[in-house]
């Protein structure tokens, strides 16, 4: 489902003396439907970078990134957008929302974009929010004023609202208490069970052990450090 093939990347900072920072070379990995693969490595080794490249948020300098039938590295913007709508979900570390939109609509949006009716979408959003213990009195408010943990749970609810065949999860259990952590782990298991291909970054050992079939160490893709 997800196939990263010999991918490389570097950053060129034109306004800071044209410094070139190579961050990745020869990265490859494959994730099949129903598999969960963890990206591991020291902080700054490139885990989030690789995830963003798979999502199309960062440009890939060379190589291919296949998600389903689409090569994200060379796809046109509208193809990437279509991919993100129906195929590839991404739960980042930070919640980024449009100001002023109520929480329940934030979570319902992925469903609205894929054609679910407004009422049905909100109902499903409500179920998710309840499962993640976000009190109903907060559903009508914009999540921008919520605590870190609450925002993270809204972020997760939004990421899991639509049944994506491929999912990227960046620290989904950070900032969560044990109860909610368990809920999120259960949700990831359910996604696996329905056949989603999942790539995750987990600093939480226990979560990693519980969910992931394999681990890939991105340190192996860092230029100059590869053995």
């Amino acid at each position: 489902m997800i196939s990263v093939e010999n991918v490389s990347k570097s950053f060129t900072l034109h306004n800071q003396g044209s410094t070139v920072i190579p961050v990745m070379a020869g990265a490859s990995l494959h994730v099949a439907a129903g598999e969960c693969v963890a990206l591991v490595g020291a902080s700054g080794a490139g885990k989030s970078t690789l995830m963003r490249m798979i999502y199309g948020n960062y440009l890939t300098a060379s190589g291919r990134i296949m998600v389903g039938d689409t090569d994200v590295a060379s796809a046109a913007p509208r193809e990437v957008i279509a991919l993100r709508r129906r195929t590839l979900g991404y739960v980042s570390q930070f919640l980024r929302v449009v100001p002023r939109v109520p929480t329940i609509d934030v979570v319902a949006e992925p469903l609205l974009l894929t054609g679910t009716g407004a009422d049905e979408a909100r109902a499903q959003a409500a179920t998710l929010l309840a499962r993640l213990n976000i009190p109903e009195r907060l559903w009508g408010l914009s999540p921008t004023t919520f605590s870190g943990g609450e925002q993270q749970r809204v972020n997760i609810a939004r990421g899991f609202a639509f049944a994506y065949p491929a999912l990227l999860l960046d620290e989904p259990t950070a900032s969560l208490d044990p109860t909610n952590r368990a809920t999120v782990l259960a949700m990831v298991q359910e996604a696996k069970a329905r056949g989603a291909a999942i790539i995750g970054i987990f600093h939480d050992h226990a979560a990693r052990e519980a969910l992931c079939d394999r681990q890939v160490d991105v340190t192996g893709f860092t230029p100059g450090l590869a053995a």
Partner: protein, 256 residues
């Protein structure tokens, strides 16, 4: 899928000065393209050339018309272009005054495009006007008020209603939130997002505000001195800018 708009090698010069040059892109149905740049970048010139307000010096702007397929709007006759401007195209000006009739009521402003395509039943026209004013969150009791009695944000929302009432497929927007209070901007952007999604609109939005473009646009073109220096997926251009100027722009945005 065929593109809705095909722009090829568009250029406009002011004597020896470059207004914009070497612009080519395809826009597909449902796509929103943002054009950003600072003052003097050529973005407004480009928008006006695309929308038929300025005649480019060379290049083609091909639009997929409903009846005749792809037609170059640059070489189209004026009556045809004006007809397009009343039906399939819309233009939201930066200043509502430029896009509204200030001495005509809100209902009349919204109804004008309908009457221009031969709507002849007063009751129906009024119904549609009320419906559209509702969609842009202007209450029904303001339908007979003149835009001079509206706040800046309301005027801008009225301009949007006026433009969208005939169901255009392509909307050009020139700094749609410029000059509005920040809270009003948020509301307007939200509205635009919803409308673009619900109506499946394609849009080309010119702005110097990167936050607006992140919110509304699928794709981004960065302009400097009349040239397109970078183009791509919006979040990619903003999060992983490749060109030196884009990097400068992005890093200059103040954090709240």
């Amino acid at each position: 899928m065929t593109p809705l708009l095909q722009v090829e090698n568009l250029a406009k010069y002011y004597g020896a000065r470059i207004g914009c040059t070497d612009v080519s892109f395809d826009l597909y149905p449902g796509e929103v393209m943002g054009i950003v740049g600072e003052s003097g970048s050529g973005k407004s010139t480009l928008l006006n050339c695309l929308a038929g307000h300025l005649k480019p010096d060379h290049g083609a702007v091909r639009f997929a018309t409903r009846s005749d397929g792809l037609r170059d709007t640059v070489t189209m006759s004026e009556p045809e272009r004006r007809m397009l401007g009343r039906t399939d195209w819309a233009f939201v000006h930066q200043h509502a005054r430029d896009g509204l009739r200030m001495n005509v009521s809100a209902g009349g402003n919204v109804g004008e495009r309908l009457m221009a395509v031969n709507a002849r039943h007063y009751g129906d026209i009024r119904e549609q006007a009320i419906d559209w004013l509702g969609r842009v969150e202007i209450t029904q009791d303001r339908i007979d008020d003149r835009p001079t009695a509206f706040s800046g944000g309301m005027q801008q929302r009225l301009q949007i209603a006026r433009n969208l009432v005939t169901g255009p497929r392509l909307v050009f927007m020139d700094e749609p939130t410029g000059g509005l209070d920040v809270s009003v901007q948020a509301r307007l952007l939200d509205l635009l997002r919803g409308l673009v999604r619900d109506m499946g609109l394609s849009a080309i939005i010119v702005t110097h505000d990167l936050a607006v473009v992140r919110l509304l646009a699928d794709r981004l073109m960065v302009m400097k001195d009349g040239h397109v220096v970078e183009t791509g997926l919006t979040d990619q251009v903003l999060d992983d800018p490749q060109h030196g100027y884009t990097q400068l722009l992005v890093s200059s945005v103040l954090q709240v």
